[in-house]
């Protein structure tokens, strides 16, 4: 869906006066490769990107590229994380997966290194972690022929706390959050990201 949407959004001229914000999966590595030039100038927010600078991610991206000859998408990163998470938990309970309470505790403890950087689980099992704004396309990535996303500003964190004020969230964070009155009043179109809306509405 992301592919058709971005193509038709730009072809209709809407990108001229409307900044497009998208959730992570509407501008992931696969979408970028399929859409190409019309991605220029849009933002999205994601919990992970292929060029994040940590040793686990570097190893993951390099090995994925070697195996599949393309960049991994965020779905691949989640699958990779999930496998390591299960592996760590099963090790922790020494293979006794029948003990469900112990296994759950081991999963919650999260004793593995994620490709998204450090995070922990909230009491509702939603990860508390950094989110990144991705600024699409100021140059072409020569090696893969796709657009690259060099800029990653940390824009927010999902919050364990129930109130934004108590958490002391500052305004730059709201820049990519949809549904606020000032966005609704203007003709801007934005797409909600599940991570952000969870943080705001919880």
């Amino acid at each position: 869906m992301g592919i058709n949407f971005v193509k038709q959004f730009v072809a209709a001229g809407l990108s001229r006066d409307t900044q497009l914000f998208a959730p992570g999966f509407s501008a992931d590595e696969d979408v970028i490769k399929a859409v190409g030039a019309p991605m220029m100038g849009m933002f999205n927010s994601s919990h992970w990107a292929h060029d994040m600078d940590n040793p686990e991610n570097k190893r993951f991206v390099a090995e994925f590229e070697k195996e599949y000859k393309r960049l991994p998408s965020l779905y691949a990163s989640q699958g990779y994380d999930a496998a390591f998470m299960m592996d760590a938990a099963v090790r922790d309970v020494k293979g006794k997966v029948e003990d469900k309470a112990a296994l759950q505790k081991a999963l919650e403890a999260k004793r593995f290194k994620s490709v998204r950087g450090d995070f922990r689980f909230n009491t509702n099992h939603y990860p508390v972690q950094n989110y990144y704004q991705q600024d699409h396309g100021h140059h072409l990535h020569q090696s893969c022929g796709c657009l690259c996303r060099p800029v990653q500003d940390e824009v927010g964190r999902t919050l364990a706390d129930t109130s934004l004020a108590a958490a002391g969230v500052t305004l730059p964070y709201r820049r990519t959050v949809c549904g606020a009155a000032d966005f609704a009043a203007s003709s801007r179109l934005c797409l909600e990201t599940s991570g952000f809306s969870t943080a705001l509405h919880s």
Binding site: I3, N4, K7, Q8, V10, A11, A12, G13, D30, V31, K33, A34, V35, G36, A37, P38, R70
Partner: protein, 304 residues
């Protein structure tokens, strides 16, 4: 509101004309050869992949379109000579089985060659943006699709209604045995029609590629619509395919755009919210049922 209706009417026209490119080949193959080709949508998908690959290699959309359509026509020729020729004599169940297998083979082959993710196909640079018509902006590329669609429809009309080959095709659709008895080489006529249908499929796939995602499985959704079109229009009739395509294209597009708003104005909000999208997506099937009730042979039956 007028702008929305106008814009959606143009979208509907564009969609209808692309459906016509697909339905024209399907209705002739079904009408003349009495052969159900479920793999027609796969030719559309493979055509779009050919166009995308050729456009990337040649770095030119139009050159890619030409090469891709030629490639799909060649594939159509190979398929006709190797497989379809053996299917004409068989019953519909065998045809459905064989062409359904072709769908699976095509999807897996495309996945093996180009990978599971969608591939890039963008309009030429000059047509990438919108143009202003009558006070609103409309994508320039969609106008080009409409123009190409009308040109191909006119060409097909001349070919089928005014040329000698077209006369054979119409005769074949009306009564195959009689046409053969009159000394027409129906076998080579079949091959020509099949190859022509494959080329039209690829043309539709290549033209729609820059609007949609060129990906595995893109042929299946459009195949159902193409069958609805030829059933509404009357199997074997090019005129029926054109009228049916335009009806399905506009009714589907306008229904999806306007029906939810209309229902909101007349029904309670929660009823409208659930009924609107559901009704919009079954609208063309309701239409098909209604037309079949009054005209069981479709609007323009070829075997009158």
């Amino acid at each position: 509101m007028t702008q929305l209706i106008l814009e959606q009417a143009l979208n509907g026209l564009q969609f209808g004309l692309m459906l016509f490119l697909l339905a024209a080949g399907l209705t002739l193959v079904f009408g003349i050869m009495d052969c159900i080709n479920l793999a027609h949508g796969s030719l559309y998908m493979v055509g779009a992949y050919f166009v995308a690959a050729a456009a990337q290699a040649a770095d030119s959309f139009w050159l890619g379109l030409g090469l891709g359509v030629a490639g799909a026509a060649l594939l159509g020729l190979l398929l006709e000579l190797s497989l379809f020729r053996r299917l004409y004599q068989r019953d519909h169940l065998s045809q459905v089985l064989a062409t359904f297998a072709l769908i699976l083979i095509a999807n897996e082959a495309v996945r093996a060659i180009w990978g599971p993710a969608a591939i890039m196909l963008n309009p030429p640079e000059a047509l990438a943006g919108p143009v202003e018509i009558g006070g609103f902006f409309y994508p320039a590329y969609r106008l080009v699709i409409i123009a190409v669609g009308i040109a191909v429809a006119a060409l097909l009309y001349l070919l089928v209604a005014r040329s000698r080959v077209g006369m054979w095709v119409r005769a074949g659709a009306a009564n195959r045995e009689m046409t053969e008895a009159l000394g027409i080489n129906v076998r080579s006529l079949f091959t020509a029609v099949f190859v022509f249908g494959a080329a039209l499929c690829a043309l539709a796939g290549g033209l729609l590629g820059p609007l949609l995602a060129v990906q595995v499985g893109m042929g299946e959704s459009v195949l159902i619509l193409a069958f609805v079109v030829i059933i509404i229009g009357g199997i074997g009739s090019i005129r029926g395919a054109l009228v049916g395509s335009l009806i399905v294209g506009t009714v589907d597009t306008l229904g999806r755009a306007l029906l939810p708003a209309l229902l909101r104005a007349t029904l309670p909000a929660d009823a409208a919210a659930t009924l609107g999208p559901a009704l919009a997506s079954i609208l063309i099937y309701l239409l098909m049922a209604a037309i079949l009730f009054f005209k069981p042979q479709g609007l323009f039956p070829a075997r009158a």
